[in-house]
Each structure stands twice: as C-alpha cells, then as structure tokens.
Amino acid sequence: MDINEIIKPENLVYDKSAVLNDDVMHYCPGCTHGVVHKIMAELIEEMGLQEKTVGIAPVGCAVFAYNYIDIDWQEAAHGRAPAVATGVARLHPDNFVFTYQGDGDLASIGTAEIMHACNRGENILVIFINNGIYGMTGGQMAPTTLEGMVTSTTPNGRNVDLNGYPMKITNLIAQLPGTSYVTRQAAHTANAARKLKRSLKKAIQNVLDKKGTSFVEVVSTCNSGWKMTPVAANNWMTENMLPYYPLGDMKDSEKGEHSEN
C-alpha cells in the first residue's frame, strides 16, 4: 500500500495538541520536559480547560514553559511556585491551577513552600520533575542527586557523609493530610508516558473536584547534565534512579484521610 494512501486526514491517530504552540522548545534533544509539556497540553485540550488553566512556571530549565503551552501563566521566584499558586487558586477558585517545578526548585530552595502548601491542602496540582541535578545552571548537585552520582559540584560522586542523603521528597509529601493524590511516574518509554498521562488526568480531576493537593513526581533525565546521549540517559535512569525512586502511587485518598503508605 502506498504511503500517500495512508497519510490522509481520516486516518490520523496522533497529532500535535492545539494547546501547544509552534515555538521550537529550547530544551536539549531528548529532554523529558518536552514529553511532560506535551502530555499536559493534550490533557488541557481533552478536558476543555484551556480557558481556565493557570500554570505557575518555576526557575530552572522549565522557566520558559510559558512560551510553549498556550494557557495563562505566572512566573514565580525560585521555589515559590506553590505560594503563588496558593494565591491564584484562592482568588480564582474556578480556575485550574498547577505548578511545574524541578528538583532544585521544589526540593531545595522551595521546600518550605511545597511542604506548607501541601499541608494546607491547596487545590492545586504540583508537577515535580526529578532528574537529580540542577540542569540549567551547569549540572550541580541537587537534594535528589543519588549517592555516588557525579555532578559538577561532586566530581568524585555524592558523598553522603559530606552532602547528606538523596531526598525522597514525594514520600514526605505523601504523609501530609492535605494531599489527596501523590504518585511517582516516569516518561522514558511510550508505556511510561501513557501511564503518566493517566496519572496526570486523575490528578487534574482531583483538583477540579476540590479534593486537595495532587502531587505528581516525574523521574526524568538530564542528558546534558549527566553527559550522556538521550538513549543512554534513559537506560542509566532505569538502572540507577528507578531502584531508589520506585514508580507507583503513594497515596490516593480524600483530603484529610491518612494513607496506608
């Protein structure tokens, strides 16, 4: 069968979401940010939320998220996205508000903000991109950097006696009664990306239903910071990150209920 007979509008099965605009993303080739942006754009389109969504951009590589997803955005100071999201969500309770933060933003300088926003149970979605490194500023050690992992500030690998232990902040957040849905996902394979989309859809629905904070961690790669090709970075993540940061739901309940985990 000729290819031109297949390429017809009626046979279309997968296309770019209309919520994503045509700007070429500044991310490095193979960066997980692109996949997560795309999934969020698809969900916002499918759930008809384009006119009522407010995203809070972080400091980090994803600071330019507002250039790519065609919704309302507000940029926050480093780590303060949950505080800004609290204000937006309280003033505009009919809007869907989400923050999009990296591990340097959320787990380091913004720890106080994220802990208290989740503890208050603000009706927001937090997307947490965990690649174990400060990607934008040159690959320095982050709180989530694995033990022994080489970064530009730990050239001999992270030493836990000197630098402390990698922080599983999602597990801490799952303990807070304000959160309703806490999960850890990945986007390195098509299967994982489809699962992530299902999780994000559930998280968005929880926010729309005013169930409290939903928190979705995405274990990601930073192939530039890790000094690897995108495919090698995905393999390294599977072998090293996923055993320490296992995927799966940590909490799925109503606000105020305590989780089994």
Binding site: I3, I6, N11, V13, P29, G30, A190, V231, N234
Partner: protein, 75 residues
Amino acid sequence: MAKVKGAVVVDKEGCKGCSLCVEACPHDVLALHKEVNSKGYHYSFMENPDECIGCANCGVVCPDTCITIYRVKVS
C-alpha cells in the same frame, strides 16, 4: 484478520535527532537520516515504511512533538 498499516510523518526541521523514537519503535521502522536539517541535526525518518503499524509509540515519546501518525486497516 484485518492488517493494520501505519505511516509516520516527521517534521524534519523540528526534529533534534535525539533518537528516542528510534528506540521506542517496536518494528524498527524509524532511523536517523544520514543528512542533517538546517540546524545540523540528523533527523528521524521511516527507513522501513512497510513495517509501520501506526502504534504511535514514537509520537508519544517525542519530546519535540514533531511526529504525526496515520493508521489504516487493510482487509
């Protein structure tokens, strides 16, 4: 049993040659081209178009959303 045929259209200029789609393809349809686009990236293309089943795995993992997928049932 109806057979499924698919086709992939890659936006050459949007592709950054990360090759995640090449890895994600279960039928080894995609490969990186020997030539480069205007930004110097080896772009992805259908090397074995007859094998494509339109599963959309390549499109789902593409960080730059430059893959469009079509699928048709052939009886």
